[in-house]
């Protein structure tokens, strides 16, 4: 193992250790806050499979996130807890299926058309939930009792405990990071990146581009569903705003802040954005203005995302440096 690689692993282990220790040192409020931030990080990482690795800027990702939340809300009995072990797979399946269907249509377009068509499909789902009486309309719908993890009537984990919920989220997050890392490094992930860099060449080599991208889009939507389920379970409430383009754009900003070329970059981006909002909100009235200026500053100064700071401080491995430089040049030209 090379030195930079070893350092990356040690850094990852240190981050995990901090994440595990965190709820023992902060108040319940901040444990909830970090659980929310990690869920948004999971959502941003799922989007980055399509945006960063697939080169497809999607503006309907929140739809898959919100859809899973609605599935939980609709499956939850009014005065009883839904079972996580049955409702979570259903929610992920619904989001994945929606992504498969929408992907099959939108992936026939390219570039700016792709962005517009994904936006249209996202808004279609938003207005479906917003303008019909189905599932509470524009008021949204409450989940009175959190889903429970129970086998044969015996509860295994009490998700009503803030700390337990936090650790469940952390567990899923580690699983998502492992899954995405494996996919990105697999032949599938390499082919996806190849099609991003040069679609024509990838096709002439024999890669079925449409199938490749549709698989990535579906997987990405299913993982967004996982995040949406957890978010709905945490807040106990779902509303159409959860599926809207505003939410999609926010996730995209997280991805841009964190950097497009890594699996965990968007997680860092989500933590930075949500953390920044929390701090600014507490101290400033016009916090949105300041937030906007900071985001513009980050994007101009760190075109590869805040993760770039890592390579500035520790020096990059030769391979990463080679990957980073062209990406920076690309960003400047854009």
């Amino acid at each position: 193992m090379s030195m930079p690689n070893l350092r990356v692993r040690l850094f990852g282990i240190a981050c995990l250790a901090i994440a595990i220790a965190l709820p023992f040192y902060v108040s319940t409020y901040y444990t909830q806050f970090f659980a929310k931030a990690l869920i948004m990080g999971m959502l941003a990482m799922s989007l980055n499979l399509v945006v960063g690795h697939g080169g497809l800027v999607s503006l309907c990702h929140a739809a898959f996130f919100g859809l899973a939340g609605y599935v939980l809300a609709l499956l939850s009995p009014r005065y009883d807890a839904a079972s996580l072990l049955t409702t979570l797979p259903v929610a992920i399946l619904c989001s994945g299926t929606a992504a498969l269907l929408i992907g099959a249509l939108v992936l026939r377009t390219r570039g700016v058309y792709f962005i517009m068509v994904t936006l249209a499909f996202g808004e279609m789902l938003f207005f479906f939930f917003h303008d019909t009486k189905f599932a509470g309309g524009s008021d949204g719908i409450s989940i009175n009792i959190r889903p429970e993890i129970a086998v044969a009537g015996r509860q295994l984990l009490d998700l009503d405990k803030t700390m337990t919920f936090y650790f469940v989220v952390l567990g899923f997050l580690v699983g998502v990071i492992a899954l995405l890392t494996m996919v990105v490094r697999s032949p599938f992930g390499r082919a996806l990146a190849a099609a991003r860099d040069n679609e024509r060449r990838a096709r002439s080599l024999g890669f079925p581009i449409f199938r490749l991208r549709l698989t990535a889009f579906t997987l990405s939507g299913a993982l967004a569903g996982l995040a949406g389920y957890l978010a709905a379970a945490q807040f106990g409430f779902v509303a159409p705003q959860m599926l809207g383009w505003h939410q999609s754009a926010t996730i995209l900003v997280m991805v841009l802040i964190g950097g497009l070329r890594s699996v965990t970059g968007p997680l860092v981006g989500a933590l930075v954005l949500i953390g920044m909002e929390e701090v600014l909100k507490a101290h400033l009235d016009n916090w949105k203005l300041v937030e906007g200026l900071i985001i513009i500053g980050i994007v101009i100064l760190l075109p590869n995302g805040v993760r770039q700071i890592w390579s500035m401080v520790f020096g990059a491995s030769p391979q990463r440096a080679a990957e980073i430089k062209p990406a920076a040049a690309e960003a400047r030209h854009a």
Binding site: M182, V183, R185, S186, P187, F188, G189, R190, A191, A193, A194, D197, N198, R200, R201, A202, R203, S204, L205, G206, F207, P208, I209, R211, L212, T215, Q319, A322, E323, P326, A327
Partner: protein, 252 residues
């Protein structure tokens, strides 16, 4: 007589009012290099795009080893054994030489889209990758990012990528474009070695290279084939001399 590996029959391509390729029939035989020449705008690039599947013909058909591939997409044709290199260098510019060639081999492997396990598992195709890189003479440069290669090296890499897909038919669109004489020599030798068990079609402007390489020659003008046959016959064809090589016909 060699077998016909790739056959186009009555191929026609119309762009609005322009008939870019008109009733072109061509047979590319295994073990032969077949050169297509003609002035600019003769329809050579359109022909190669029709054969590779990037354009669909208005009429006519394309057969690969006797099977009709006229309506197959480029990726399906590639998997059926058709490899191509582009006129303008077309690489994965941000990836290393090795990764470019590895992706090419992966595309033709038995599990091109496997989602589990890394890319370095002991796969039979990894041997194909090192062989292809050796063959074009880029072994010492295999870890270099493709963008950083010289123009000539990028052309070599193009050919390595085509080789790694292990094609039965290779389409080369102006492989010598933009090359100095010494760089060109290396590529000419490489192209000559490609025909061993494959059929090669090459579109090229460099007449010296064409007459050195080609076993068979097709001359196009205004979208039509005006002559086809052995190089020595085509060279003296009066129609070709008049139309393409100029009335005084000074070719080497």
């Amino acid at each position: 007589m060699h077998d016909v590996a790739l056959r186009a029959a009555g191929l026609q391509k119309r762009f609005g009012g322009l008939l870019a390729v008109s009733n072109v029939s061509i047979d590319i035989r295994a073990g032969e290099i077949h050169a297509v020449i003609g002035p600019n705008g003769a329809g050579k690039s359109t022909l190669i795009n029709l054969l590779a599947g990037e354009l669909l013909p208005t009429s006519g058909e394309v057969l690969l080893n006797g099977a009709d591939i006229t309506s197959l997409s480029p990726d399906r044709r590639a998997r059926a054994g058709l490899g191509r290199a582009y006129q303008k260098t077309t690489l994965f510019a941000q990836f290393s030489v090795y990764e470019n060639v590895r992706l090419a081999a992966q595309a033709r492997s038995t599990t091109p889209l496997r989602m589990f396990g890394g890319t370095r598992c002991d796969r039979p195709y990894l041997q194909l990758v090192t062989d292809a890189i050796d063959r074009v003479g880029l072994s010492a440069r295999s870890q270099i990012i493709a963008d950083k290669l010289s123009h000539g090296e990028q052309r070599q890499l193009e050919i390595a990528m085509v080789l790694a897909t292990n094609p039965r038919v290779i389409l080369l669109d102006e492989p010598l474009a933009g090359m100095g004489p010494s760089e060109a020599r290396g590529i000419i030798g490489l192209i000559a070695s490609l025909k061993a068990d494959r059929a090669v079609l090459v579109v090229e402007h460099d007449m010296d290279a064409v007459f050195e390489l080609a076993d068979r020659l097709t001359v196009m003008q205004d979208g039509r084939v005006i002559a086809t046959g052995l190089p020595q016959d085509v060279r003296v064809d009066p129609g070709v001399r008049a139309a393409y090589l100029g009335a005084d016909g000074g070719i080497a």
